[in-house]
Symmetry: C2
Subunit: 269 residues, 2 copies
């Protein structure tokens, strides 16, 4: 710690401990020093030591177990997501035969993970559009929607990589009863193939990305501390006739997600 | 509040108050009920009431003033950012004459705000590359870098819309002394024109986006509560010869930033 650091001492201590964790000097699973020992080592009050540990928890680096002290968390598998490249890739595959569509799922493309590593759950329900969803689809509030919830995890970790809520207009989807059946998931070729079975071709996908603290139930399901942020992706899919045909909200844990976008510029030469 | 909500009461109360704020029943600037009054109205302990108010602060919706109670914050101007569209737009303008380049800045393009609404500050320093930056540029640690820090605000609000730290290799930039002078900012045409004066043409820009809680100094500068998340954009600019020529880190306040990306898909027909 430099002498001229003007920030609160507990932050400087938290950063020092973070450095030790990130450099591997405090390996995953190891116990942190007790509050008393940290207090002595850093010549800091107990309150400040508690604040420093709170900060480390908020960064998702340590975890306290009831009656067992504080431990360094195993680093979570970091996942790169390349949503925008995926959309055209998914469209290119939407008209292929099922065997080819079944070879690779969208999540594998997004994340670079292999199918045997992934666990996938889906739940379908019928809901009434609230004002917000009604506005997005341009339908009256109360219109029936098919709500599809997805959880995708790696087999090596319990907590999902993402929470997805996807909405489709029920009356449109009902034309293909297979699309109303959650047991048909994971669907080879994903949503763009599902829409293709209804004669729908996507033309534009609008992504809106924000970040916020997780809601308590999101922190619970994603197994993150409440101080870890989530990325919230709102994806609106518009067909070739300009109709909004799907809206989805994707919640991604901020401590393990990196959204990557590569822009290739036109050459001057 | 529904009877079957299984979450802690303080969260339900916080959400009820949030709804009142978002619906305008508690307008900006209005005082919240006292802890005692809230405790009575919701039949909740003082501790739970404090937790509910803490949650509202963490959402950036209320603010406590020393000795004056808790007030509803004015909603902050929300800014849509379209980074990826901007990169090609900036490149198309990089070879134009200064008058044309000076007409519109990149921030205005990104945010849709007009130049008279924006305040802009820049600070240049020379720093030594740490291991991380050395790895990004593929140079030895300790190599001299030009570090450029930017703060952009709207005139109607004090707090910046973004914090930017941009790094360039000093020995390359030094060929044009104007590029070493912070007083030349805001530079008409931005970084891509600056690089053009050095004979450098960008070909690829890699964006990596994550979310995390703000560091205390970021929360301070951006004027956000520590419970508001920040979006962190790491942008790596690569020239036509495959060299990394610029790296920047952009910190964006999560309560007012929406990163928008529109994907137009190729038609099947």
């Amino acid at each position: 710690m430099t002498e001229r650091d003007w920030r609160p001492r507990y932050i400087q201590v938290a950063e020092d401990l973070r450095d030790q964790i990130l450099r591997g000097e405090l390996p995953p699973g190891s116990a942190m020093l007790s509050e008393t020992d940290l207090s002595e080592r850093y010549d800091l009050s107990r309150t400040s030591v508690r604040n420093a540990i709170k900060q480390l928890k908020d960064w998702g680096l340590v975890r306290s177990k009831q009656g067992q002290g504080t431990y360094v968390r195993a680093p979570r598998q970091r996942v790169e997501r390349r949503h925008t490249e995926r959309y055209q890739w998914e469209k290119d595959r939407a008209r292929l035969g099922e065997p080819e569509r079944g070879e690779t799922g969208a999540t594998e493309f997004d994340t670079g993970l292999d199918l045997p590593d992934l666990e996938f759950r889906a739940k379908y329900t019928i809901v009434e559009a609230d004002d917000n969803l009604a506005g997005i689809f341009g339908v009256p509030a109360g219109t029936a929607l098919l709500k599809r919830e997805y959880w995708t995890s790696t087999r090596s970790e319990d907590s999902p990589l993402s929470l997805v809520r996807s909405y489709l207009l029920r009356d449109i989807v009902a034309a293909n009863p297979d699309l109303m059946d959650e047991a048909k998931e994971p669907w080879p070729g994903g949503t763009q193939n599902q829409l293709y079975t209804l004669g729908i071709e996507l033309e534009t996908i609008v992504d809106r990305l924000t970040a916020r603290p997780p809601l308590p139930e999101e922190a619970d399901v994603l197994d993150i501390e409440v101080g870890v942020s989530v990325l919230v992706l709102h994806k609106t899919s518009i067909d070739t006739q300009g109709r909004v045909v799907e809206f989805s909200e994707v919640i991604l844990p901020g401590d393990r997600t990196e959204i990557v976008h590569v822009t290739t510029l036109e050459r001057w030469a």
